[in-house]
């Protein structure tokens, strides 16, 4: 009997070990690589990704009558005429201060020579327009106190100050992308009125309190405005605000050798350097652009239909583009819609609107807005905390492949189910982000949906689709 028991145990043990070993072997097996089956998957019970790129986009140009142009770091000077935005002129205002330490002048040795405006242009300074045209600049003295009025927060593009007669003028030719020195600086000099220089020189010589006391100096000499001379146009250059008014004098040594020396009047207050802009839209597509009629009025909209079936972004000129999507809700109401995957906004610049002369802004931001048409918070891409600037892909040879692209998933996710009053006015604003936007005249022209699909702005909404079970 014991023999039988042992035999049974051995049989069972053998079986158990065999089965266990087989299971360990299973783990060594691999799987084949097959691509068989996509044809046969269910057509009505499967999730899909559907893209809707035909959403209606109402596009308008929002005009803000003033933009902050103080403390941009640039004296924007010049004028140009644009086929889309008309004539744009800019005058740079600057408040100066006398040298902190006045030189000791000796009438036996030192002799006044001249006065002029020294303006500095570096390689990466902004410029816009036709740079092949020589520029004639003029300098005028500000004919009033250069000070902020009560409740005036700063200096804006629509501000200007009374100016005296022209006290300096000069023609120059600037090569903005080919600086003339190894320091990437192109310096221009505008000669100014000799008698003004003599007068200032004498004050320095006498160490007049006008020169030693800043407030007295500013009452005597409020500042300068540099602008394009009438009849001269072509472009606007942004000179460094470290531009200076310089008095030249000769120091004669006992050996009869003359040395040129100078006295510099430099920027006094960065916030008291601003640019005054003048736009003349006559004859341009935006000649019908609505302007605010009261201070309390939100920036008015002008539909793209009234501005040549296009809208315009030039933030320094007060132009931004508002986009609204009146039928976005209808996507969420589709029977197969179950959720948003992502949404992309593709902004294609109007093909013939940009060139190497009239360049596109390299960065255009996208912001939320509402019925007040003001620029709101940046619309962030999913998973990013950095405001978007369009990631411009530029192609001059194939202009229609030029585009700004934005991830507007967060906005669409909110707006697609937004049924609150005023939802129709909630949208996006395209604007050149600060600080660039306050110091560049580069502009973007966007075709509306009357243009062919490959030339216009497109909102692509990718949603997850699941058809209701039949």
């Amino acid at each position: 009997m014991t023999i039988i028991h042992n035999h049974l145990r051995k049989e069972l043990l053998f079986l158990f070990l065999s089965i266990t070993a087989l299971f360990f072997l299973v783990g060594c097996q691999k799987q084949p690589s097959l691509t068989f089956g996509s044809t046969y998957v269910p057509d009505n019970g499967q999730t899909n990704i559907i893209v809707v790129d035909s959403s209606t986009i109402n596009m308008s140009t929002v005009y803000t009558d003033s933009t902050a142009t103080d403390a941009t770091g640039y004296l924007m000077v010049g004028s140009y005429k644009d086929a889309f935005l008309g004539q744009m002129s800019s005058t740079g205002y600057i408040q100066l201060q006398p040298p902190v330490t006045l030189p000791t002048l000796n009438y036996l040795v030192d002799t006044y020579d001249s006065i002029g405006m020294v303006m500095i242009f570096r390689t990466n300074n902004p410029f816009y327009g036709d740079t092949t045209i020589p520029q004639t600049y003029q300098v005028q003295e500000i004919d009033t106190l250069f000070q902020l009025a009560p409740f005036q927060p700063g200096w804006y593009s629509n501000h200007s100050l009374p100016l005296g007669p022209v006290i300096g003028q000069g023609s120059v030719f600037i090569t903005p992308t080919r600086p003339t020195t190894t320091e990437n600086i192109d310096t221009i000099r505008i000669p100014m009125d000799y008698s003004l220089g003599q007068q200032l020189y004498n004050m320095v010589y006498n160490k007049s309190d006008t020169m030693t006391t800043l407030t007295t100096f500013q009452q005597y000499f409020p500042g300068l405005a540099i602008s394009e001379a009438p009849g001269s146009q072509g472009n606007i250059y942004g000179f460094r605000d470290s531009s200076i008014m310089r008095i030249y004098y000769q120091e004669n040594s006992t050996g009869g050798v003359s040395t040129t020396k100078y006295i510099d009047f430099t920027l006094n207050n960065k916030s008291f350097q601003f640019n005054s802009l003048t736009a003349n839209w006559a004859g341009s597509p935006i000649s019908n652009l609505a302007k605010p009629t009261s201070l309390s009025q939100p920036p008015p909209l002008t539909s793209s239909a009234q501005t040549g079936h296009a809208s315009y972004v030039q933030t320094i000129g007060g132009l931004n583009v508002k986009l609204t999507f009146p039928y976005l809700n209808s996507i969420a109401q589709r029977p197969d819609y179950i959720g948003l995957l992502r949404a992309e906004l593709t902004v294609i610049p109007l093909a013939n609107s940009f060139s190497t002369t009239y360049t596109l802004p390299p960065q255009v931001g996208v912001y939320s807005t509402d019925l007040h048409n003001l620029i709101g918070a940046p619309v962030l891409a999913v998973g990013s905390g950095t405001p978007q600037t369009g990631n411009l892909s530029l192609n001059y040879f194939l202009p229609l492949q030029t585009a700004y692209n934005y991830d507007v998933t967060n906005f669409v996710a909110f707006q697609i189910v937004n049924t609150a009053p005023g939802a129709d006015s909630t949208g996006l604003i395209l604007s050149i982000p600060p600080p660039t936007g306050d110091a560049t005249f580069k502009r973007l022209v966007i075709a509306d949906q009357t243009y062919p699909a490959n030339e216009r702005i497109i909102l692509s909404v990718y949603y997850i689709s699941l058809y209701p079970h039949q």
């Binding site: 009997m1 039988i4 028991h5 035999h7 049974l8 145990r9 049989e11 069972l12 079986l15 158990f16 065999s18 089965i19 087989l22 299971f23 072997l25 299973v26 097996q29 691999k30 799987q31 084949p32 690589s33 097959l34 691509t35 068989f36 089956g37 996509s38 044809t39 046969y40 998957v41 269910p42 057509d43 009505n44 019970g45 499967q46 999730t47 899909n48 990704i49 559907i50 893209v51 179950i338 959720g339 995957l341 997850i464 689709s465 699941l466 079970h469 039949q470």
Partner: protein
Amino acid sequence: MKPSINKLVTQAIHPRGSVRMILITLLTIISVKMMAQNNSLPYSQMGIGDLEDGYYNRTSGMANTGIAYRSNRFLIQNNPASFSALTDQYFTMELGIRGEYMSYAGTQVNVASTESGDITFRKLVMGLKLSKHWGTSAGLVPFSTQNYQFSVPYYLVGTTVQIANSYYQGHGSVNKAYWANSYEFFHHLSLGVEAGYIFGQLNQNNIIQASANGATLVSSTNDLNLNNLYFTYGMQFYGNVGKKWRYTLGATYSMKASLLAASTKLVLNNDSAILQNIQNNESYLNLPNAYGAGLAITYKDKYTFLADFRYQDWNGVATTNTLEYPGQGYSIVSAERGSVGFEVSHKKTFYNTRVELNYLQAGLYYGNTYLQINGQQIRDMGITAGIGANSLKSPLAYDIIFQYGIKGTTANNLIRQNYADLTFVLNFGQIWYTKGKKFD
């Protein structure tokens, strides 16, 4: 005086501690792993998966030919009428394990990876001869299996613009728990009925992944819980012709039934937030009327020749299945399968009792499955061979079956599966507790 074989067996099972321990261990594994299958079954994405046509029993070495087969020791699920053939007051239990190697061919198979293999439990059944003419059996057997995965480019709907990859994966199984009874009439006729409870879960996943980094854009899972009763009726008529020949005629009929489904469809977005959670209770697929007929001829109680033909009338339920079954580009059509088998049984006489020592088997099968894809009905054919032995010193019997088959074709962009199976069937049998009564 030497003890009889039955007594030997009865006494041999006394070490119940060991037997019980091992059986419990095996059952635990079985409950977890029984129907899980790792081999990729590309055709299983359609219908309710690859329908099981094997029984993993004494007939498996004969291409599962056994509608007319009767055994006094083994459980022949091929026909519910067969259980009345069990030895009186006999209890038996069987489990089956199958190792399968599979290779794939076709234009949609990556030549760098064309093989797979797995080992799975395939069944656990038990039977009992309740009275002289009444046999019963219950157990758990596979009904269908689903296991597939593939990744294909995902195109924006209605375009040729690829924006992602789509990964499809499905797994699961439909099983049958049955209870069958058969009763013998007039020593020549046995009638049986099997109440099968079809149940199981199929899990189908689809993940749309970004082409650039594989990040999930949207995923959906569809869990189908299927269940219903599926009855099978069987008949066997048998007798002798002269002293050397014995014949059995068998037939089966399964009555069509609607397969009920409770589905849970869950759609998640790229943040794994739930977008949809749909639950449905409905009819998913109708199981068809199925017919089977078989013949067994035995010579000198040693040589047995068998032939079967089975037919599943899927066309008969096609009207109702058309709208309910998901997928496209294929259809479910009637399936048939023919098979023949041959067995040589070696027996020995102990004290006027004929005891089988071992047996050799061989079989052929050929059939068309219930799938028609690209106008091509999927064909399945192959050969089998088996060897079995009954232990004289223990209550165990062993059966090892080799099977080689070809399923599908490489024509019409389809896939051909070549498979080689090695199945191990373990049978445990003993005389049922008799309360001191004498057994025959």
